[in-house]
């Protein structure tokens, strides 16, 4: 379990001698054991932010501090669930889930974790299948299971449900919420879908052109009535800030 503090975090890509600012001095405070959704248009910098947090990309400037309670910790376990399942096609579902446990030498513990998450995600029957034998929704479930087996402190999700049909999407949204409520990890969930951001997040952060433009606290509880007036108003406000690139307020660390 860990919180994340971003101080003036910037990322600049070089593109044909030209600087492209992907993240522009972002300040954000993500509390320990909270579920934060980041919403924005394609190319707004949300994926870049997740890739920097998971060390797949280096930052250009600024600081990232991880905390546990009031103490600063150096390297929490962070795992990312990508937009595509990224399963190893030569491994069975079970072995794909085991892959994240490469550092654990105790076979009993490895099997215990894999069994637990196979059961939790209703993948038990498919454990000996290969990725090319299962559906897209099922594959994303395996990718989620692989990450959960790793038992990270922070889970980053980069539009993991983006490629799924609406039914599978709904089911997996609820499963992710259930997992969050049971294991209380810090989850940063990126999406371009305003409804999804509102439904899943306790807080919603809006990004636009590498800037943070809005930050809303929704509700600690996940039992939300998406048709209530309050939620509809929030949705309008969110959509407005996603579309309007003039508003820039990069400091949401308070």
């Amino acid at each position: 379990m860990a919180g994340i503090q971003l101080h003036n975090l910037s990322k600049i890509f070089k593109l044909k001698e030209e600087d492209v600012v992907a993240l522009n001095k972002i300040n954000l405070n993500i509390k320990d054991e909270s579920f934060v959704t980041i919403v924005g248009k394609s190319g707004c910098g949300k994926t870049t932010l997740l890739r920097i947090l998971s060390s797949l990309e280096s930052k250009s400037e600024g600081e990232i501090v991880f905390t546990q309670g009031n103490t600063v910790i150096t390297s929490p376990k962070i795992a990312i669930v990508f937009q595509e399942p990224r399963l190893m096609p030569w491994l069975t579902i079970r072995d794909n889930m085991k892959l994240s446990l490469i550092k654990i030498k105790n076979r009993h513990e490895v099997n215990r974790r894999v069994d637990h998450y196979l059961e939790l995600l209703d993948l038990w029957r498919f454990q000996d299948a290969y990725p090319n034998q299962i559906s897209g929704g099922m594959a994303q479930r395996v990718a989620l299971g692989r990450t959960l087996c790793y038992e990270p402190d922070i889970i980053l999700m980069d539009e993991p449900l983006g490629a799924l049909d609406i039914y599978n999407r709904k089911i997996l949204q609820d499963e992710i919420i259930k997992i969050f409520e049971n294991c209380k990890k810090t989850i940063v969930f990126v999406t371009h879908d305003v409804d999804e951001a509102l439904y899943m997040g306790q807080q919603v952060v809006v990004m636009n052109n590498g800037n943070l433009v809005n930050h809303m606290r929704i509700s600690e509880s996940h039992s939300k009535d998406m048709n209530s007036h309050e939620m509809k108003a929030l949705k309008r406000a969110l959509t407005h800030s996603i579309m309007d690139s003039r508003i820039i307020r990069n400091d949401f660390s308070a």
Binding site: L56, R86, M88, L99, Y130, N132, Y150
Partner: protein, 261 residues
Amino acid sequence: MKNYRGVVLPLLLILIWGIGSQYGLFNSFIVPSPLRVLSTGWNLIAKGILLKHLSVSLWRVFAGFAIAFFLAFPLAVMVGLSKKIHAYLVPSLEFIRHIPPIAMIPLLILWFGIGETSKLSVIVLATFFPIFMNTFSGIVNSNVDLEEVGVNFGFTRAEIFLKITLPQAMPSVFTGIQLGLGYSWRALMGAELIAASSGLGYMIIEAETLSRIDIIFVGVMVIGILGYAIDWFFFKIAAYFFRWEGKSNGRDTTPQFIKNI
């Protein structure tokens, strides 16, 4: 039914051949009758001559192949993983790749004599490139997205290579092995025809000097059947090990005629 379509043409040819020989349409000095070829084949087997030559040739192929594999595979992995080595080596390799191993036989004989060394070198030359090129392309074309999964779970570089890059490259490596075996078989026949005192190629060229056309026929057929058998065997192994390669991956290097067997 589909499975039997492949044997129609060979049977038809044998039939025409048999009838032609029976009615004296072909000069039996140039085209011996199928029955004569069969009895010569049987004789060669019974006397152990065929097996002797065959085992010499097979031993050469597998020994040469093993040497080529242990040279080409590690080198391809190294070059595939390091862009710096790649820049130094590739032009030279491209140059050598375009020289047919058979064109090198005179040189190899002058260097190594007509003993085993020159034959093994021909096979190494023929087999090296298919293994090298296919392993190399398997390593270079490894999916970075999958490697990122490893990075994300804290894999070391060695772990990423062993658990992600290499398994991904295996079908390609295997294609290289399969091609390499085919090439080495052909190159060896060339070498044995030019200078050898044993082996299938030698059996054929010796039969030519003795005007034993029937032995030549037996030799040629054994070469064909054996090449086919080796390929089939490898196809079966590949089908077992790479059963995860579904249609979605879109990679299938098996010739259509093998699939119909």
